[in-house]
Symmetry: C2
Subunit: 369 residues, 2 copies
């Protein structure tokens, strides 16, 4: 069993304003890193700036973060932080702004660093302190040492480093109340994918499995209800989904993800499919795989989580929109080498062959398309 | 929901030797803080010294820690650490050596500090880095910011401070294999008490309840088997109990304990009853209390933990030896003011009256004695 997660996590209604003194403890100047609209629509940005103003903390807003943010964008954010003489960085939003904020904090202290040095964690100076305020129930980035960013060649890579832990994460599920239905589903199913993938990682241990099972136990009924409803989820459902996303983060923080996430990156890079949908579309393949390669482990997990494999499959079907993507077999064969020596693929319990990945992609992009 | 536990926790067979480089990262000189026999009998001290020697770390052993250690003893340990120019402190043993090691690390950096300053967390300098190696499955001190120590007047008090977190905790359940039966039971039932009390704390939240329920789910069958057996528990049972103790630590680290622990301190101070027995003897009173004051919460907890209140009562009966202690009603009345404004009593869900505490003590020490 291994556990290391030094972030101070505080969730609950109005936690940003209630913890404004904790924010001010990091300094008197900060850069807020966020996307275009989510942080504003959710009310999170207004709460954060009110909290900072109440404590006399000066801030600048860097709101240029796009989905699947590029390392170069984070470098620009780092330059903005340095120019503003920011003493800490606050990321506000979903997974993209939160992951980007981690990288911005690194670049702010290492302005001349290259993308290669960034990915190799070869950072001369430690990042600025990082604060994260989540506005989606999916990423779990609030409690991980991971950032997933897009390189100059358009490829998504994750970087793991203990210096990427937030010092403070504030989670108010009210910010998820205004999420559009497609974002609720794509982020919610990402949280489910985190939990399920973590449970079937070779690194899973007693504690990570506990988080993963509880995350699924909370997320599956809440997300099923959200997928089938005409109206937006109520506050209790939102809180349940947010808690599940945190549990998913705690789970993958120990284990990492397994093959669906990494194969999903390909769908996102190539066809712009939203991250959560792109990963979750391969969850049924993972369930098939573990039914063969680790049936007892799988049954234990379903029992602990209080769901069946069929319920998980139904949930994926209910959440996922049609994938507007197709490819030729030749194209998929050409892509296969990226999973040849891939950490997430090797991290899956049992042995996942290249042929299994090819078949999963082919069914989705050739046969079904 | 709140979570903060920055200790790096690593458990598993041979984890001390396997993580020897992590030890050396804290410096080249350390003070080992331990009790008389447990650390030696368990093999933990031999593993630790071998690991330190393999890395060229020089150490001195301060093996004077007694059960319910006095603050003054920790001050002496601090002086030993300073005289040895220790750069870090390693606690090895059960709850007493681990808690004492935390205080030794504080005193080592603050030699002139008084007991009052220690308890008020008025520490001019931060403690030395703390490493903990547990040898019992009970305390959970490995993952808490708490130390319970005895003051100059013979009273047990807990101190909570973020600076008391270990930087590293290494848990190898093999060290618990040689525990005598009475220690297995008194420490194991302490872990159960941590989980149950945490679940019925006003501060309990989704995550702390998850830890508490899982701790009980693991501990109750393992400890029931241990209590009823003629032979010592096997390695799997020991590992299960150790995991439960860590879960109990994670639970109380968020919530604190409730009235049984604090009333138990009185039994330990006055009659020398081992800590785990002294607390657990009041668990049935807590179960009675929550059946009245929070029945839905109680049922939810029993369901999540997979045990009934009756099974918990049976376990307490099976583990506890006869209490060789008696008192007069007048003596108990005279002791009552200590629980008048007590944090642990007020932390219990529902309102716990002084009369309830008096009745629980009277039944144990007057009627039953």
């Amino acid at each position: 069993m291994e556990f290391f997660m030094p972030t101070r996590l505080i969730t609950g209604e109005h936690c940003v304003m209630e913890n404004r003194r904790r924010l001010a403890a990091f300094g008197s100047r900060c850069l807020i890193v966020t996307g275009g609209s989510g942080a504003r629509r959710s009310g999170a940005l207004a709460d954060l700036t009110a909290a900072l103003e109440a404590e006399g903390v000066t801030y600048e807003i860097f709101d240029r973060i796009t989905p699947n943010p590029a390392v170069s964008l984070c470098q620009a954010g780092g330059q903005a932080a340095a120019a503003f003489r920011a003493q800490f960085v606050v990321g506000v939003g979903g997974g993209s702004p939160l992951d980007a904020a981690k990288a911005v904090a690194v670049f702010a202290a290492n302005l001349e660093m290259t993308e290669a040095e960034f990915y190799s964690a070869d950072w001369p100076r430690p990042p600025l302190p990082i604060v994260l305020v989540g506005t989606t129930a999916g990423t779990g980035s609030e409690v991980t040492s991971v950032a997933v960013l897009t390189d100059g060649a358009g490829r998504k890579h994750s970087i793991h480093d203990d210096r990427l832990y937030a010092a403070l994460a504030l989670g108010d599920a009210r910010y998820t109340m205004t999420l559009p239905q497609d974002v609720t589903l794509s982020t919610g199913i990402d949280a489910v994918a985190h939990c399920v993938e973590s449970a079937f990682s070779k690194k899973a241990d007693r504690l990570s499995r506990l988080f993963a099972a509880e995350g699924v136990r909370l997320a599956v009924p809440a997300l099923s209800a959200a997928a089938g409803a005409d109206t937006a989820p109520d506050a209790q459902t939102r809180a349940q989904l947010y808690a599940a996303s945190i549990l998913g983060g705690l789970a993958i923080n120990r284990t990492g993800t397994v093959f669906p996430h990494n194969v999903g990156y390909y769908l996102t890079e190539r066809w712009g499919i939203p991250h959560g949908f792109a990963c979750a579309v391969f969850l049924p393949d993972l369930l098939d795989h573990v039914a063969q390669s680790a049936p007892a482990l799988a049954e234990d997990f379903y029992r602990a989580a209080g769901v069946s494999a069929d319920e998980l499959r139904q949930l994926v079907r209910a959440c996922l929109p049609p994938m507007n993507a197709c490819a030729t077999e030749a194209e998929l064969r050409a892509a296969l080498p990226r999973w040849q020596n891939n950490g997430s693929v090797k991290n899956t319990v049992g042995a996942v062959s290249q042929e299994q990945i090819f078949t999963a992609l082919k069914q989705l992009l050739v046969d079904r398309a």
